[in-house]
Symmetry: C2
Subunit: 157 residues, 2 copies
DNA sequence: CCTCTGTGGTTGAGCGTTCAACTACACGAT
DNA sequence: ATCGTGTAGTTGAACGCTCAACCACAGAGG
């Protein structure tokens, strides 16, 4: 493990804190959403994306992009959400390979029901914990990470 | 969605960037480790914990704590790692309910092989992307999220 | 000794993600 | 027309995680 390119003690500490912190945030959100709404966070985000789209409708691939997710994953996810009655699928007339996902009324209410608790959890875990200065710093740090790597990123800002 | 406790536009932006950034970091690390070593990141961390313990040995529950993981998860994980020959289990003489997990030579080599690529990935995704100031800020932000304890040199866990 | 409660650890089912096929259609070239 | 290539989306198996039992033992009290 004595590699010339190993992390410094300081870097190693930061990295471990990073893993602990993001892990804690993740766990807390996942647990809260699952407990209060029976939805995994990933599925909640799918509903959010659809709710913000015109006609609450998106192509599968668009939906995958916005959720930073693979097509396969979105296929499985939408299948489950459809089976739960929160989403419906319709074919695309102009391109017969395509498929639309549409948020149902039931799906919209599920989202409206889930949102306050979720927002509360986000506040509790992040915005209530950090100072406004830290929030600003975190924002810039995240922008740096997103922009510096060839990863599927949200450009809608 | 017009809840009095909804997130402000700024907060919402930060939150989405946070999700994108941490998601990208996660995906990148998971992909790199899986491709180059066939290990999920969680399993890699188990090997790291064991490699740092005296005699490369830890009780299951200690291992679970250090990996911020449930006992169940650790049981499954160690079962798989044992089956892969990277870990061995031995009973605890003083408490016959207990079990030790021991890193094998093969497990140690697997870790040594995997480490450089992993460290490289961590650098590429985080430390090469951020300025030293941002790294320091991130460290304090993570500390705040974890425990509310500020000190960068803090080690009260 | 025996039960009662608590703890260390395991197990199995259910679920979400991944990966590698695979289907079906679009589009351009031959 | 048909061939080849590329794209949209789906499928199934393998795998890791979670959750709720569950087993085996420890320790205290009767």
């Amino acid at each position: 493990m004595n590699d010339a390119r190993w992390l410094s003690d300081q870097e190693q500490g930061v990295w471990r804190r990073y893993l602990a912190a993001t892990g804690a945030v993740n766990d807390e959100l996942e647990r809260q959403l699952q407990r209060d709404s029976g939805l995994p966070h990933a599925y909640y985000e799918v509903l959010v994306s659809l709710s913000e789209a015109p006609d609450r409708t998106l192509r599968m691939s668009e939906l995958a992009e916005r959720s930073r997710s693979s097509r396969s994953r979105m296929s499985h996810a939408v299948a489950r959400l459809e089976q739960a009655g929160l989403i419906e699928r319709t074919g695309c007339p102009s391109d017969k390979r395509g498929a639309f996902a549409v948020l149902t009324e039931k799906g919209y209410s599920a989202l409206v029901d889930a949102a306050p608790g979720h927002v509360n959890a986000v506040r509790g875990v992040l915005f209530d914990t950090l100072t406004p200065t830290q929030v600003q710093q975190l924002s810039e740090i995240c922008s740096a990470i997103i922009g510096g790597k060839p990863a599927p990123a949200d450009k809608s800002e």
